[in-house]
Symmetry: C2
Subunit: 419 residues, 2 copies
């Protein structure tokens, strides 16, 4: 017997027929002797509908009231799933965020889960009753409804799993797991059996959007074993096909001999490159650039400072999220005299390619191999950034697919034909 | 300065444009210096959509979960109205049933309001903030969401008005008040300035469905002054046209010289006539008919027992709601030997016509005048029932409109052309 949390997204909950399928999946886990809590999203499209109502009512809507409105979507699906489970003979009841309660911060529309009483929930499911919990919602001090921000249902599921000390948190999505890279670019991409929290965070933050990043961070902090699996594909017996487990490094090291040095390759076209030319090469010059950007909450990622060659001036290049480019330019224009640069040049036709893997901690040469593989294909590297388990390069976006395919092969990630 | 409750139905809340109009109406009351609580219904059609989801999920849905699902409709509109009010510069916030809280019985899907803390709500609106409250919902012991049954938002509004000791409860609907009779039948029907609770109850129970009967009963018990008025028609200055006040008799007697003996005439085609022939004329015979019907919760209205003429047998005629006819026949078939009747004859082509007015308490001859007016037009009376302030007759449904018109004129209710 295990205690598990199952989470179903909006596509899985879109209409009564699909909710019935979800109920059947939940029933199988109950019949296998497991204690189950289910976290659900709103029906696909419903949250957008409700968000649009708020925007229509006032572009400057009150986030407290927005939370009241949009949390209704998950309230509806959780009640409906409880009904569908009961119709299959499975005892079930819904638990709203304020009923459990799931305590959050009062940052309405993007609240953080702070605390939740796992014992009462554990008691509720101990008797064999399935707890159906609306994702995305909670309650702030003062008893106001909150929501966690878009995609927050993944975070809800992990929080519930943590509170329940669950053996597993199964996230049912419209993909069947985490792949070594985007299968639309590399048909030979392989589904990973296991990936570490850190790897998943790096993959998610560079564009492999299977799970909300926050939920992975929370899972890592709370040591929740998360599985990503398909809500629509099943084994021939109607059961669930195994997906990808997201786990701590301790579950991987040693007992996974076949594991590659590199786990996955991600790409991200949502960055823009900014270059400031002829910045005075003096102490404090770089700070004068990045302090005003930080003050404006603009996230700077890759930074390259050219060598000065004794001219007393240097070019500084960095990337910002595409959505922040206009604001970043505005901030830098205003700081121009202070920084003392000549021209501001920007380029949005760039892509960030990242190779990710905990294996590179103990292996030198990963970056060198990457640069060589790209150079062999005449792909120019515009900037580089690295972390303990990731190497990222910025290239011209026209080479995105080629670079991903080249690196996928170079690191031995291509699936064998038989696989 | 007055303290008022405003209630808006589903048609008034159908879409953001209409919600904005509602906000404008609320703003006018606030600007007039009033303290305001608003009770809202779900958008027109939304409750049906949610109810259908539940039925689809399981015809035998759990009423507790049904309440979770359907209460979402009012949750959405209350948040949206708060946003729309804020957009007009009016401070406002929504209060869910569980936040106030509105305590109800645990009769899910048809709960009764038991108690609510008016003081905190009064404090909330005392500072000039409008409280927006979803109608139709509350919370049962054990913190489960409840709903009050269809049309329950009127009852919510009256309950909020009672808890707040409000000066007035304004119910905005798609009609502009209570009329002496159905204006579609009698173009000369007049809008009433005032009507008593008792009269409103009698009019509502016989088919003049402006307000939910329960809400009128509660208003009477709690002495809440209720006004029915139009959500769509306004005075030339954009203000509200006065509707019909529903008040206690003390507000009418004496100071309303022009008031007619009869206040209104209602008709109801939703009754069916049942006749059992040759029932043994012995003590207990009538009980043997009506006890099994009562046990099956079938409401019997008019009852006529023919004179026996020494045959030892009599025909018994009565009416039941059309919707209960099949069940009533079933109950009576099974009780046949026990009752000992010969045949069961039913007729659905009947209509009940009622004249209602507190004035008839002090005036004899109201019924006689009614029978004479109908006889003059050769309208046959199939059954009669009376209360202190009402006389009802059952006639063939073909004569419904004629009977209503004849009685409207006979009791002097026709509006003058200039009015």
């Amino acid at each position: 017997m295990a205690r598990i949390v199952m989470k179903f997204g909006g596509t899985s909950m879109a209409g009564i027929e699909r909710i019935r399928n979800v109920a059947a999946r939940v029933k199988r886990e109950v019949e296998a002797g497991n204690q189950v809590a289910v976290v659900v999203s709103a029906m696909a499209g419903e949250t957008d509908r409700l968000v649009n109502f708020c925007k229509e009512a006032s572009p400057l809507y009150d986030r407290k009231e927005y939370d009241v409105v949009v949390s209704a979507g998950e309230q509806v699906t959780s009640g409906l799933l409880a009904i569908a489970l009961q119709a299959l003979g499975v005892p079930a009841r819904s638990w709203m965020g304020w009923q459990l309660p799931i305590h959050t911060s009062d940052a309405h529309a993007s609240a953080r889960i702070e605390d939740m009483d796992g014992d009462s929930l554990a008691a509720a499911i101990a008797g064999g009753e399935v707890a159906v919990i609306p994702g995305f919602q909670g309650v702030a001090p003062g008893n106001r409804v909150t929501t966690l921000g878009r995609g927050g249902s993944d975070t809800s599921a992990v929080a519930v799993a943590a509170a329940l000390k669950a053996d597993r948190c199964d996230i049912y999505t419209d993909v069947d797991g985490v792949y070594t890279t985007d299968p639309r670019i590399v048909p030979k991409a392989r589904k990973l059996k296991k990936v570490t929290y850190e790897e998943m965070l790096e993959l998610a933050s560079v564009g492999a959007k299977v799970l909300q990043t926050r939920s992975v961070g929370l899972a890592m902090k709370e040591k929740v074993r998360v599985q990503v699996l398909s809500s629509f594909e099943g084994a021939p017996d109607g059961g669930t096909l195994p997906g990808t487990m997201i786990v701590g490094e301790d579950e991987i090291e040693g007992n996974d001999m076949e594991r590659q040095l590199i786990t996955g390759i991600a790409h991200d076209k949502n960055e823009a490159k900014v270059t400031l030319t002829q910045v005075p090469d003096r102490p404090g010059a770089v700070a004068s650039i990045f302090t005003p950007l930080a003050d404006a909450s603009i996230n700077v990622d890759m930074i390259v400072q050219n060598v000065s060659h004794g001219t007393g001036q240097t070019d500084v290049t960095f990337t910002v999220p595409m959505a922040e480019l206009a604001r970043a330019r505005d901030v830098l224009e205003r700081a121009r005299t202070d920084i003392g640069y000549d021209r501001l040049v920007h380029d949005t036709a760039v892509a960030k390619i990242s190779v990710v893997g905990v294996g590179m901690r103990s292996h030198a040469g990963v970056a060198a191999e990457m640069f060589k593989a790209l150079a062999d294909r005449q792909i120019n590297v515009l900037a580089i950034t690295t972390s303990e388990i990731k190497v990222s390069v910025l290239i011209h976006e026209d080479y995105t697919e080629l670079a991903v395919r080249v690196l996928h092969t170079a690191y031995g990630l291509d699936a064998e034909d038989a696989a």
